[in-house]
Symmetry: C2
């Protein structure tokens, strides 16, 4: 069943992302103490018109798991991008935005159009994500409006390509 | 970072599910032709109070990938269960319900409290999921209200445990 299917043509604009990325990030928010984290991000494909996405972060102190996300990235015509994500914190997101590829560099801008959450999850109102990739580097920043705070910078990380 | 952390106590009621499951299912809906599929479901944990869930289906004719889902299962007090899922079709779900464990058998009943979707996804209004597990068997049925149709049976499958 698995094998190595050819990359779906629709996914070609996101080909840069495919593989594994690893690095460190830092987070802050008015309601919590600033923190740092280790992170691994993986993008892969199964020959269909989307990428599968999986992300995990861990404590730089003791390696214990912190956050994680999983979902699918769906490139669309006219450089549009749709992303659906689930978080272990009990949150789901639909994000939409744009991607631009220029001489091997990629830029992605996303913002939530829908956020859903379970009864016991902390309230999240909106998220934004920006990605910049070039060569073996991928960086991102995440903005968040949650627990009554306005949309503002929450997370930023610098990752390096570590394999496929 | 990974190792083999101890199972989080909150996840104990879902311990039955941990591992890999494989089998076949059948789907129908008023708007499509009936179909069958192969399926693999995996549940695993990382020492936190949730299970990670990943599912993939494929054509029984040629093994080509069909559907997939990924997300997190969050057991809560009083036998409540929260599930957040993302689908490559551009849908996210928040499902909530109950679980019952009795002499090694498990029953789970879930229904969506929120469904979100991307601009280009087919409209899904509601989903329900029932699971029955015992020994090395796991079966489920999925109900769906979508594309203007009322909530009704959509998918059912019988899976066997194939490893951890």
């Amino acid at each position: 069943m698995h094998g190595s299917p050819a990359l779906h043509e629709d996914v070609r604009p996101l080909e840069f992302l495919i593989g594994a990325w690893r690095g460190e990030g830092a987070g802050r928010y008015p309601t919590i103490n600033p923190f740092t984290y280790g992170e691994e991000v993986r993008f892969w494909h199964i020959g269909r018109p989307f990428l599968v996405y999986s992300q995990a972060t861990w404590s730089l102190d003791d390696g214990s798991p912190m956050h994680g996300e999983t979902g699918f990235w769906r490139p669309k015509p006219e450089a549009r991008l749709e992303v659906v994500l689930a978080h272990p914190s009990g949150v789901v997101e639909v994000e939409e935005g744009s991607l631009a590829v220029d001489r091997g560099a990629i830029r992605i801008e996303l913002a939530t159009i829908t956020v859903g959450q379970t009864t016991t999850a902390k309230p999240v109102d909106a998220l934004t994500r920006s990605f910049r990739g070039e060569g073996d580097s991928l960086s991102y920043s995440v903005g968040m409006a949650a627990v009554g705070q306005t949309l503002q910078h929450h997370l930023g990380a610098e990752l390096r390509r570590v394999g496929g």
